[in-house]
Amino acid sequence: MKILVCISAVPDTTSKINFTADQKSFDTGGVQFVINPNDEFGLTRAVWFKEQQGAEVHIATVGAASVEPIMRKALAIGADKAFRIDTHPLDGFLVANTLSEHIKTEHYDLVICGRESIDYNGNMVPGLIANHCNFAFINTCTSLTVDGNKATATREIDGGSETLETQLPLVVGAQKGLVEESDLKIPNMRGIMSARTKPLEIITPSSLETLTEDLSFEKPDSKGAITLIDEANIDQLIELLHKEAKVL
């Protein structure tokens, strides 16, 4: 089985988000970038397939050279080969389109993307890829097994879950649950050393078409002051929620 894990570089979840003075873009100053958490769950599952079922695991990232450190980290976690698609990921369509171009040349059986990246929250890349490449698609995936050509997966739905069955080739939208948080792999020294010499190819995409454009960015208004209620006066909380906030 040949697997591609699509990886985004996103600000660490603890980051404070700021935009540039002209409000045209995200201010990356002082921001630590990490593997998108949803992608990391997918990567860990892919490495499990490699260890248990002998899969070959590639990763691909759309971005400038500045994303290479997180790609090396993915290689240190256990991926075999990396591809960097050399352009700025301006919208979900561009990302999916350039990844699909790569997927068609490498003939993967399984493509794993995070269900969304935690920066622009587009939640569209796996679906777009599935359609572009004519693969089956399972989103918000919380478990995945592959037996020959048959894949069985669990999908999180609102208020429950569903068990689904399909055939490879398949695109999966990964999220927490696909592997346990405690099973996420931290690269060891051997992994880090070997990652330095693993192949990282750079691809120039043939089309840079986008379907949407972010014109400007804003930060949310700062929050008004809290109303503190004495713990001996719980009735006051109920009254405020009823009469002032009107949510009871």
Binding site: T163, K176, S182
Partner: protein, 319 residues
């Protein structure tokens, strides 16, 4: 160049989010001086949603079970046939599953997590959407002639309309889906994080899973869904499906009650779209107190049981 809105059904009836989606579509159509058309699949009473100029009702046994490829294909065909400029969809797990697929099939841009009607920026139609899990907003414009708008839950609100919508049946082909559903399990009779008006959430301050009966009891009184912080789900005290925050579920309820949750930046991002936030924590320095509307400093184990009793009395009085 109308506005088409896909209104999800469950067990042949509208899902709760349908009112808000129809309200948004009607307002968008009004702003564009055009018609709003609903698209409804396997619903016994499509006419009960008001405020739309027309409702297209599709009925087919093959659509009783939701699978994304099948639904996306059908909705894309309806989008094409209707000649609509915009397709509005919701933010449920099922609708988000459809977004990318319909975008590809209809060659139209998809703007998810939209929270308002469009505004004009330098002659372009820009939709305000949340990015960085509610830590920021982007104003995004479509570059395609047709566009899909994914409306964030509880962002626009519902407008009551007494005018009936005219229903027309439409027959559309249903494709075979490469993905099939083997089984489905849902928690019956309990509010879910996705559609509850109130969410009661707790963190490590609750000290252990054995104390969650307090949270469940409080949720029962309020008709609320239960949720938890990331450490609680990582420790296995509660299922992953209850984890709310940046890497878990987003919450956009009317009332979010956080008990024994300190308020890490990732958690606050995930719940920021909720309208009213209440925090109960014994640490007055907990960051949550800076992000909430109402707060009580004190021990959850003494406050929550009192709150349950007082809310029961309040509910009995206001029933």
């Amino acid at each position: 160049m109308s506005v088409l809105v896909y209104l999800e059904s469950e067990n042949k009836a509208y899902k709760k989010t349908a009112n808000e989606l129809a309200s948004y579509a009607a307002a968008l159509a009004n702003q564009l001086n055009t018609e709003a058309i609903g698209l409804v699949i396997n619903n016994d009473q499509p006419e009960i949603i008001g405020g739309l100029n027309q409702i297209i009702s599709v009925n087919n046994e093959a659509l009783d079970t939701y699978t994304a490829e099948k639904f996306a294909s059908l909705i894309s065909v309806a989008f094409e046939k209707s000649g609509a400029q915009y397709l509005v969809i919701g933010s449920s797990a099922d609708s988000k599953y459809l977004g990318g697929l319909i975008s590809a099939k209809s060659s139209s841009g998809y703007i998810p997590n939209v929270i308002a009607l469009p505004e004009n920026i330098e002659g372009k139609t820009a939709f305000k959407r949340t990015v960085f899990t509610n830590k920021g907003y982007a104003l995004t414009t479509p570059k395609t002639k047709r566009c899909i708008i994914g409306l964030s839950k509880n962002s626009f609100g519902s407008v009551r309309s007494d005018s009936d919508s005219r229903v027309e049946s439409m027959i559309l082909d249903v494709i075979d889906d490469p993905v099939s559903v083997i089984s489905k399990s849902t928690v019956n009779g309990k509010a879910t994080i996705a559609d509850a008006d109130i969410v009661v959430s707790a963190g490590r301050g609750l000290k252990g899973p054995e104390n969650w009966h307090l949270i469940e009891e409080l949720a029962d009184v309020l008709g609320a869904a239960t949720a938890c912080s990331k450490p609680v789900s990582d420790l296995g005290w509660r299922p992953h499906s209850e984890h709310v925050g940046q890497t878990g579920k987003p919450v956009a309820t009317n009332l979010y009650i956080a008990i024994g949750i300190s308020g890490a930046i990732q958690h606050l991002a995930g719940i920021n779209a909720s309208k009213i936030k209440v925090v109960i924590n014994n640490d007055p320095e907990a960051p949550f107190f800076k992000a909430a509307d109402y707060g009580i400093v004190g021990d959850a184990f003494t406050i929550v049981p009192q709150l349950i009793e007082k809310l029961k009395a309040f509910k009995a009085e206001n029933a």
